[in-house]
Amino acid sequence: MGRLLAATVLAFILYSFSLFSLPPTEYQVKTALIYNFLRFVDLEKDSYKNNNIVICSFNNNALNKEIQKLKGANVSQYVIDFQEIQDDDNLEKCSVLIIDKRDDHSLRKILERAYQQKVFTISDIDGYGEKGVVINMFLKDDKVKFEINTEASAKSGVKISSRLLSIAKIIKSINK
């Protein structure tokens, strides 16, 4: 029901854009991608929180407004939930973590915590993929593309569908 709802929302969004001849915003596209990423990945069993997929995002992220619209949508038998968190919040409650721009030290710390908690990390900051985020979205030729760090996914306990892998840019972490 949730999925139908999400699909309806997405369809409505896209329809509205087409109706008013407005192209989807970068955030909207990225939000849609995040939703689709969830459909081609399998998280660790413990990462599903009460049969929900909880998307966590730091409270200052510009994407939050759009991601919030995914709340209640279905992916397989799971329902999407959304929570804004603080830097020092516990990641236990998160299934997916949207990482915003920050310094490397902070990033490393957050990623360490995410690996430990088996949280699926997603970012839209250039170079973050190579820094250890599982899926990083980037712009290329005015199109939103994404790259997958298979090491990070292994660390996070995220199984990515070959179908997704086949269309993504595969990268590895650069240890500095």
Binding site: R3, L33, N36, R39, F40, N74, F146, R163, I167
Partner: protein, 768 residues
Amino acid sequence: MINLYPKRLSSKINFAVLLAILISFMATGISVYFVAKKVVRNRIISDLRVQSRIIGSNCSAAILFDDKKTAKDILYSLRAIGEIESAVLYDKNGREFAYYIKKGSIYRPHYSEMLDADNYIVLVENIEVDNEAVGKIVVTTNMNRIKTQMNIVLFGVIAGIFISLLIAFAVVFVFTKRIFRPVRNIIETMRKVSEEKDYSVRAEVLSEDEFGNIARGFNDMLIQIQTRERELNKYREHLEDEVRKRTQELETLNLRLEKELSEVKRMEGIISKSAAEWRTTFDSINDAVFLLDENGDVIRCNKTASEITGLSFSDIVGKNICSVAHDKMKDDCGISEVMQNRIRVAREIHLRDKVFQVFYDPILSQEKLVGFVHIMSDITEKYNLDENIRQVQKMEAVGRLAGGVAHDFNNLLSIMTLYTGSLIKRLKDDQRAQNELNEIKKVIERATSLSRQLLAFSRKQILNPEVFDVNESLRSSHKMLSRLIGENIKIELNLQEQSALIFADKSQFDNVIMNMVINSRDAMPDGGTITISTEVRKAEKDELVGPDLKDKDILILKISDNGQGMSEEIQKKIFEPFFTTKPKGKGTGLGLAMVYGFVRQCNGFIDVKSKLSEGTTFVLYFPVAGVKAGLRTNKSGLIRQIDGSKMHILLVEDDDDVRRSIIKMLEDNNFRITDTSRAQNALSLLLSRKERYDLIISDIVMPEMNGIEFFKKVREFDSEIPFILITGYSDDFLPQEDMSKYRDNIIQKPFNESQLLEKIREIASIGR
């Protein structure tokens, strides 16, 4: 056409079983083929469906993340499957997302358009992610794989049927051979019985089934037949003996009959041949032959009879002969005479312009008259010929008589002429004597003319023939003739354009024409037209032109008038001398006789056709002369006094009176004369050469040696001495060749002094 259907029972069963197996195998094979086809198709479709789903699933992420390149790369992996023609991805909104098309194949962009199911299979599969449709994949595949697999199946089915059939044939062959062995045994036994008549053979009992029972039954039957056969043989031998005896008797009888039949056939042949021969002969007879019954009615007649009477056989048979062949009433044609006398009766009858010799011959059977043979021979031609010959003979006899009379008469006239001339000369001062002598001279001239005409008729006149054109002659004398006959009669010339040359005495010819024209004039007292026509052509076969003109080129000269005509009786006598129909004193009766004599002397022929009140036509036939010879010129008739004082003439004349008159006349003209009555004496005188002679004058007709013979003898020793021959007529001993040879030397009696002197002058000057 080859009949494939077997003759033998075992073969028939083999054939039936194999045919049944073949049909069942084929039916099974066909079923297997179609089931296999279905299975293969479904399996291939199923495989393709799985592959489509895998491809579709692999493309799901690409659709969701709008990665067309990756989707296309995935679709192109289908290249490995050869039968896939195309694969098209659609997003969930039905928009085409990516596609793959086999090189050289067709492109089917949308799944809603279906292809021909016979040649292509189109599979449409949904692409789902988490049970949510994210798009569709449409895969089009060809049937090559199905066809290849079905060919393998078909080959397998056919091979299976073939091998099965071979096995079935072997099995059926072995079984039928075993089953039919007893049957063949019985058949072989039957063959021996039927072909070799051997009833002692028995069929072998090879099985205990139905065939074994048949063999036993057959053997029982053979035993019975064998017994009966023995009995029958006995009867047959007896019967054959009987038949042999009868046959011999019949053959003897047959031989006799054949002989008799052959004889009958031979006789029939002879009779048939005789009948045909008789019929052919009967019809070939050129005379009309009628077979009559005792009453004179026609029983049968030949072909000529039908032709002569102009009636058909059916019109003749049954009618009385008198009405059929004589145009007379019954019994009025001589038949009653034969009935009475019973001997042959011959008659000559004139019937429809023809003359027939008719014979009646009685047919007697045992003294009884049973019929007649009536024969009619057409003798018209013979009759006419006989008539003609009779007429010619009569004219010849009269001619000879007239000629003889004229000859003697000429001698007398010669004497009278010469003496009269002498007297006229001597008594020239006595006027009265002169008048009387001139009267005598006129009478002598008339008599001379008569004599000449008689000679002309008897064809013994001396002619002076030449070749001349009759047409030319007629044209030149036309005016003179017109004047001669008066104004109420017209002469029309109808002359053929080509020249009509004849060899004749021209002056005599002119006399003839004049005579004829005068005759025609006399036949037309009230005036009319005389037509003279000429025609040159070849004498036709059977044309009545006389024997001299048969098959020759002839000139036909016709002189016709439309006067009173002549009866047949007059026509018969018209050419006889002294026959005239004119009043006494008006005609001599010698005109046409002279014409007749002239024409005959020219080897021609004359005919007359006349009908009372209609007119008369005289037809004169002359032989045509080949070349126009040089025309003779008439010699000058000038009488010039000849002085004979220097000439010595030897005169040979057997008639003393004539000789004396000639001597008198010649001596009066101062000729010196030596005379003799015999040619032999004259020859002696000449040969003795005591005297010189300047001229010989000799009569032709003399006893011992005639004038011609004398002339020839003289020429043997003297080729130059001039010679004059005197004749009363041209006789038989003066043939045509001599005539032409001596014509210039001849002077015809009677002649007068001036004529003789002219001849002497002519001969002496030329020196013949």
